[in-house]
């Protein structure tokens, strides 16, 4: 640390002294375990690419891949549609409303997945408020809401929405309000000002938020298990099932590698066009 303070002579030795422990631990306790999964996927129980062949050819598994992808797209779309107005209002109407909205977003962001998943079990359950309002309104017995595609989509959207809003807000708050004033003074109506000026400037936030939600959704586990149906299984559920019920290490590892590869592919596309630093910064 002491050496870190002398900046005149740029030597890289102290940098490695400072970074060494973190890098060593990450290699040993992260890269190696992930590498072990990679290795298992082609060696367990015997050497070869049989697991991968099975994943991409057996209809049971291709359906799970497609379903994961489609579900993630739907959840991302829903988060975007629901999140955009919230981020917009927080940015453009500073004051009590914005503070309240931001507080609510932060609250739900920090509330654990399991608390929120449990809440949806109550809301959509057979003895929940939706079912009882059906009865109260004389509509008869409510349809089965829990353990359906609808309930797991709703749950995942609810959980990932704060991420989308915060990603949108991070970009929107940097948009100079003078741009909009300039547009207005040049005769643009509020609608046109939004469409021509604000919306295009907010697009990086749209991309960041969508990427974040989509990638998280690809690997979502807890919520689809607890709220969804086995019929629309997601990739992560398949991994868990193969390990928990069948102890099929090789196959589970291959599925995990496919999930990892899909995630990396999405991130690589983003990196190509925007640069990952922008996502984290």
């Amino acid at each position: 640390m002491a050496r870190g303070l002398s900046v005149r002579r740029p030597s890289t030795a102290p940098a490695w002294l400072l970074l060494g422990p973190a890098c060593a631990v990450l290699v040993l306790l992260f890269v190696v375990p992930i590498g072990y999964v990679l290795l298992l996927s082609v060696t367990d129980p015997r050497l070869g690419l049989a697991h991968y062949q099975r994943i991409f050819t057996a209809p049971v598994y291709t359906r799970i891949l497609v379903n994961t992808f489609v579900t993630s797209l739907i959840v991302t779309g829903l988060c975007l549609v629901l999140g955009y107005p919230v981020a917009y209002v927080i940015t453009r109407r500073p004051g009590r409303v914005a503070t309240l909205l931001l507080t609510i977003v932060a609250m739900s962001f920090w509330t654990g997945f399991l608390v929120r998943t449990y809440a949806w079990l109550v809301i959509l359950g057979g003895k929940g408020p939706v079912a009882s309002s059906y009865l109260a309104l004389g509509l008869g017995k409510a349809p089965q809401l829990l353990f359906t595609t609808l309930s797991s989509t709703l749950g995942m959207t609810h959980i990932l929405l704060p991420y989308m809003i915060l990603a949108l807000y991070a970009v929107m708050k940097k948009i100079d309000p003078n741009h909009l004033k300039a547009a207005a003074s040049l005769g643009a109506r509020p609608g046109a000002g939004f469409r021509e000026v604000f919306l295009p400037l907010s697009l990086p936030g749209v991309v960041n938020g969508s990427l974040l939600v989509f990638v998280t959704c690809l690997g979502f586990f807890v919520t689809p298990v607890l709220l969804g149906t086995p019929r629309d299984m997601m990739i992560s559920q398949l991994i868990n099932q193969q390990i928990e019920e069948l102890l099929a290490w090789g196959f589970a590892s291959a599925v995990a590698v496919v999930l990892l590869a899909a995630t990396l592919l999405v991130l690589a596309i983003y990196n190509r066009f925007a640069g990952l630093d922008r996502l984290w910064g």
């Binding site: 890289t12 992930i34 977003v105 920090w110 009882s132 690809l218 607890l226």
Partner: protein, 256 residues
Amino acid sequence: MLAVILAVLVALFLVAPIVIVVPMSFSTAISFEFPPPGYGLGYYAKYFTSEEWLAPTLNSLVIAVGAMVLTMLLVVPASFGYVRYRFRGKAVVNLLLMSPLIVPHVVSALAYYGFLGRAKLTGTHLGVILAHGVLAVPVAFLVISATLKGFDQNLERAAMSAGAGPFRTFFHVTLPVLRPGMLVGALFAFLSSFNEAVVALFIGGREAATLPKKMYESIRLESDPVIAVVSTLLVSAVVLGVLIAVFMRGRSVHAS
């Protein structure tokens, strides 16, 4: 105006499910029933006397503190090394430090299940602490390196030219200025472990079962209403934390 109405509706959608757990925790129903048929403190009594729930609560706290300490021990020096020096392979180091954020948690969970299982560390506190400590590195690194980038090094130069040694400068100038950022980084690391479910589910076992793992199992296997009590306590902690943050932010805005 339309946007405001939409935003408020979405905010209701966000907050209503979180609020609903509060009345549920005072319910007397034996299953998930809303509105509750009657109110009482029965499930609070059950939570605070049941080993089955208190043990995972304690585990979660111990593991989150352990993971936070591990993360900070790695990330604080690493951030200094990363921000203050130019060296070859910086991009690779950055990617390495951020990799736990890139890999889906279920993949990491599987990896740890296999790897820590071989080292006989699954189902132990140490195993979960190691895994959670590593997984929290990216978020802590982001926060602390950002704080460090905003640090004006002239402060250190001034202290040194005024005769302070490097250690004195570090402990009397650098550290105090960076403290808020470090605290935020530590808090994020703590919460990242405390809220983490998937890895804990795979490697926690019985001995090191965390609260999210216990909640998952209680929903899946028995629909135990005590989960409403746990949820209410967790939500209260979050509300308190966020209100403090909003209050502090308001104060700093007024001050500046």
